[in-house]
């Protein structure tokens, strides 16, 4: 975009375009008929174009119908009318004021008008009621597969750095309304680098072993004993028992669920370098009605018995 901001280009393009169109008209007019010089003895009615190759090879005139010529002139008229109505002549916006961005907005508006009522119907329902609605579930699944599966996986079980949404462990809380807030506003989880605060590498390793001991995972008990007093630095966020704090998104360290991995090395890395993780806000992108259906779907993933992703459902929405 920034390449052609100079005022020179708009008149340059305009002049070039109009000259080309005018030139097409002139060419057409000039080629409509031709004055030929008759050779001595040549019949004026022999119907050749006067174009001669190789001394004696004439071109027979095989004229097109005249309406064909008028079609050519019509294209010129069309081009001029188009350039008056639509953007095309340099930076001239055209009489109709058409813009691709407003065309896009108009389509969005139409889609909202078409599908809005369906989503609005659920917006006025309690999230748990929406979660129990088979049609809302199907819509939620499609929304999830389109907008969420890139990070959280098609089965919602997450990846390294992206939480599993099908279990009961929640960083910011698993109540339906909290899930909705998470999707609406997004989340920003920060674990600061704690290496320096704890001391040296040895201290980090000891704390890591203590952290592992909280969930009863395999660890070095001696190192864990040395790590325990150092863990006070962590309690501000993770709590005295390491059970975490959903208000600030501090993970529970006393279960066996790890966002980045549960090996000693990974935990040491987390402590040393910290972590910074973002869940984007979908408020503006999807709008509240869609987020409402989506939140109900996500909540249902961990609050229905059996399979996390229900393969069967009673109604079909797609065609």
């Amino acid at each position: 975009m920034s390449d052609f901001t100079d005022g020179f280009w708009s008149p340059y393009i305009t002049v070039l375009t109009i000259l080309s169109i005018f030139g097409c008209g002139v060419l057409l007019w000039m080629q409509g008929s031709r004055r030929v010089t008759l050779e001595p003895g040549q019949d004026p009615a022999d119907n050749t174009t006067g174009h001669v190759w190789d001394d004696d090879l004439g071109e027979l005139n095989n004229p097109l119908p005249r309406w064909w010529m008028w079609l050519f002139y019509l294209t010129i008229v069309f081009a001029l009318v188009y350039l008056v109505l639509y953007p095309g002549l340099g930076s001239f916006a055209g009489q109709l004021g058409w813009k691709s961005s407003s065309a896009y907005q108009a389509e969005l508006k139409k889609a909202d008008a078409d599908y809005g009522p369906m989503f609005n119907k659920y917006l006025h329902q309690d999230l748990k009621t929406v979660a129990a609605d088979p049609q809302a579930h199907a819509i939620g699944e499609r929304l999830f597969l389109t907008y969420c599966a890139q990070c959280h996986g098609s089965d919602a079980r997450g990846n390294k750095g992206f939480p599993n949404l099908t279990d009961q462990d929640w960083l910011h809380g698993g109540a339906p309304e909290t899930i909705k807030t998470t999707i609406m506003e997004g989340r920003h989880g920060v674990m600061p680098p704690m290496g320096a605060a704890l001391g040296g590498d040895k201290d980090v390793e000891n704390v890591a072993n203590y952290v592992l001991s909280l969930s009863g995972s395999t660890h070095d008990p001696i190192k864990a004993i040395f790590g325990k007093p150092k863990f006070t630095v962590c309690m501000g966020c993770h709590g005295s028992g390491g059970t975490g704090n959903q208000a600030i998104g501090a993970p529970n360290l006393s279960d066996k669920i790890w966002l980045y991995g549960g090996s000693v090395d990974t935990i040491m890395e987390t402590i040393r370098k910290g972590r910074d993780n973002t869940m984007p806000s979908f408020k503006d992108f999807l709008g509240e009605p869609k987020v409402h259906v989506l939140a109900a779907y996500v909540w249902s993933l961990s609050n229905h018995p059996g399979s996390a992703v229900a393969l069967d459902r009673p109604t079909a929405t797609s065609q």
């Binding site: 004026p44 050749t48 119908p65 390294k160």
Partner: protein, 466 residues
Amino acid sequence: MSASESSPKTAVVRMYQARQQIYPRDVSGRYATLRWACVWLTQLVFYGMPWLRWNGRQAVLFDLAARKFYLFGIVLWPQDFIYLAVLLIICAFSLFLFTAIAGRVWCGYACPQTVYTKIFLWIESRIEGPRSSRMRLDRQAWSLDKLLRKSGKHLAWGVVALWTGFTFVGYFTSIHDLAREASVLGLGSWEWFWVLFYGFATYGNAGWMREQVCKYMCPYARFQSAMFDRDSLIVTYDAARGEPRSNSFRKTPEPASSPCIDCSMCVQVCPTGIDIRAGLQYMCIGCAACVDACNMVMDKIGARRGLIRYSTEHAIEENLPAAAILRRIFRPRVLIYSSALLVIVSVFLGSLILRVPLKVDVIRDRGSMGREVEDGMVENVYRLQAINADEMPHRYRISVAGIDGVALSGESEITLAATETRLIPVRVRVPHGQGRPGSNSISFRLQELDGARAQVNEKAVFYIPR
């Protein structure tokens, strides 16, 4: 140059010319009857087909909005587009074959341009009268009679054209709904557009453009020479018998070799306005109207028929009998076209009959390569895009194979409603130690549990982290 030539004469050559209106004379005879039979046949199919029902729906419907194409018992999806490509190839090869054998039979008998021109000409001659009356009417100054006849003609053309446009749209949207909407003029804007557009195209092409479409627009007229040879059937004038012409109208003493009497009937009946006696030309659409006209004249003067007839260049030059023309059908060009056509048609029908009304695409989750779960098992996640292309709901079992111990985690049976498309997230697990680190080939299978037990296998990749 001498002084007398110093000012050379010049002339103006026009590169465009006004069209000469053609007034084809009505003709009857064997080929005219055949042509009318083709008009009836093609138009009964065209106008009638959308009204046929099949299992409670329109039998032939190209539902573009839902992207489903119903052809009697078959429902085709965009994924089946290959069938359209093959169908077009079959049409092209048929055209090549027919052209090699019998020249432009398509143009003369079945092409919509010919057929609608014929229908519109029929209306014209009912309202404006035969050729001579039409010519006189066009020369006349405007009068009430002329106004009534002309407007009546255009009105009748308009009705046929609108009905044609309506029928055309009826192939793409339910014609019953369309008829109901049309009866109260409540068509949607796109329906209006296409009805009027197709109607206008019919009116313009069959009423006004006529032979100009064949002469100036149709590519087939221009490349047919690549498919013709000296043994292809053409409508041709027997110059050896006809020339020199003699315009004596008395009964000829030698009916077998009587020459052309230059009555110009062959020119008057020609819908493209050419003189067939000038030889084979690209403007000839092979309708054989001139054959009927000439035969009629030959009958009247007691001469033998066939001065203008279906023959081949070869047969005309060497005076071959009909049996020799028939024998020459079996020449390499025709045999190659026929065998190619036979192969393509068999493959087409075979694959259409064996077609499984179930489609599966596997889309691997790209967010994660592979993750370790309980007991050191490796898990990969996929989405199966399953399409039940049948018009009945079905139950399916999903299974996976390719690595020892590979299995689905979670439910493996699904139900798809009639013509439903669904994305199904599935997790696949492989026990610790099985498979190679890196990519492993696996395949998913969807097996229908009821009905025809259709099944589809689809390849995928299972990734085991190193």
